[in-house]
Subunit: 203 residues, 3 copies
């Protein structure tokens, strides 16, 4: 199941790289970074072994997804909806993985929630930095917010007598559902800017 | 005292994020990164535990400062002077903390001076990269230079018979004073460009 | 020999920083990051001690190269060819160093090839990010490709009965030669974009 997330993130990296007209090597790097960047940052922060360096499955999956996405880039428009599904499953899974790695390393729940969010979101942040644009998740979408809500639910549910599998499934489903509803109804975080502030952008 | 620096850096992050019209989550991330980025990079480089992951005080302080800065952003113009004071105390403290962590880990003085400067300056560098602008400290102000001077003074004073508390206070005061004077008298590093070089910027 | 690579990378950092009109401190940082960035990222990923923090030779060499490059920046145009030679020797050496560090840490050949490429290329990537431009190696040149080919050759040659010194020399020479021929004949990776795709750049 983890593989679905990796595939979706790799493909989203390829699509961004294509829009910047990078060469094949650049595309591969961006795909790689998008798929493993969040987990790598998490592993460095908690001083754990970096996952993809010890398990080559990630490397093969990213390589395969990249070739697929480049070859079928014309068609990917039609399957954008299924891609979005993969991506949403991906952030749900990555969030839970990050939270659980944080718990295993003995961190406070707030830090574990941060680690879950980092795992799910920072691959995309690094992708956007390498492509020289302000990270999209800072600006428009309810993306990280879904991760924070799901990761918080994980800890609330842990305090009930619920078996662990249910905790995982429900909190993952919360990430998934919040993100799905946000995109469906085009929701974003409430703006904190007044109209006149938005009109005259500083600088 | 360390807290003043964290507050000032968090607020400076919020102000930058507001000027880029980021959403609330983006603002929080930028505030966080500005406040802990330098220390995190230092801890990763010397392979130590990342401070904010083990001590939640940082997280609470940054959260509080962010909410404060967003709510009172109109008024912050009036208190820019006090903000600048916090910031300057902040870099002085962060420089000394970085130097002392380097000494504790057994590094050469030159590396310790670098670690002090990294602790004080790189939160701002990461903030600027995430906001897609060339880091301001590379271009205009005597900022890192103040850190380097204070950190160097730390080692010179250590060689005297002076008690450690005085070494800390004096070298911190040097960072503070150099930075203060530089802003007061609008000093910057001597330019290395001739006039004709500055006129025709390449590219 | 490792020193040649450090010098060349530091000088290339200075030239980029000069073109962005950074101040002396900014130039020094960019020179430093270009020269040690790739190795630092490698050491963090494999959880090894960061090389330049334990061996000050790097620091002195980078400092000297930066002063030299700033003073003689007018003349550097004339010696661009020799600079290119240093740079090419540099990536060849850095690739092999990265591969061997990966082997010593017990990683799979594919990961070691990545580590060699990261060592040789990511200093330049970080330089370009700090200077707010899309990393050049993602777009135009056969640069990383040369590293990947040489690093792959290393493993193929290791399986023969060849003595280790020859493996090192031949695989290093492959990086060097591929890069040299690519620049000489102005080769780049085959484009994957059709003509109409290149004409209308998205966004």
């Amino acid at each position: 199941m983890d593989i679905f997330g990796t595939i979706a993130f790799a493909i989203s990296g390829v699509l961004t790289a294509l829009s910047k007209r990078l060469d094949p090597f650049g595309i591969l790097i961006i795909a790689f970074v998008t798929a493993v960047g969040g987990g790598t940052l998490r592993d460095i922060l908690i001083d754990a072994n970096v996952a993809w360096m010890r398990d080559l499955t990630y490397v093969y999956v990213i390589f395969g997804s990249t070739i697929f996405a480049v070859l079928f880039r014309k068609r990917l428009g039609y399957i954008r909806r299924s891609l979005f599904m993969f991506d949403t499953i991906g952030i749900a899974l990555y969030t839970i993985v990050g939270v659980e790695k944080g718990i295993a390393a003995g961190f406070h729940p707030i830090i574990c929630i941060s680690l879950g969010t980092i795992t799910a979101c920072f691959g995309g942040v690094i992708r956007d930095i390498l492509c020289n644009q302000i990270p999209i998740i800072f600006r428009k979408e309810i993306y990280a917010t879904a991760c924070i809500l799901g990761a918080s639910a994980y800890f609330i549910l842990l305090k009930t007598a619920m078996p662990l599998e249910f905790v995982v499934i429900i909190s993952g489903a919360i990430v998934f559902t919040v993100r799905l509803l946000a995109v469906y109804f085009n929701l974003s975080l409430p703006t904190i800017y007044r109209k006149d502030e938005l009109e005259k952008l500083d600088e």
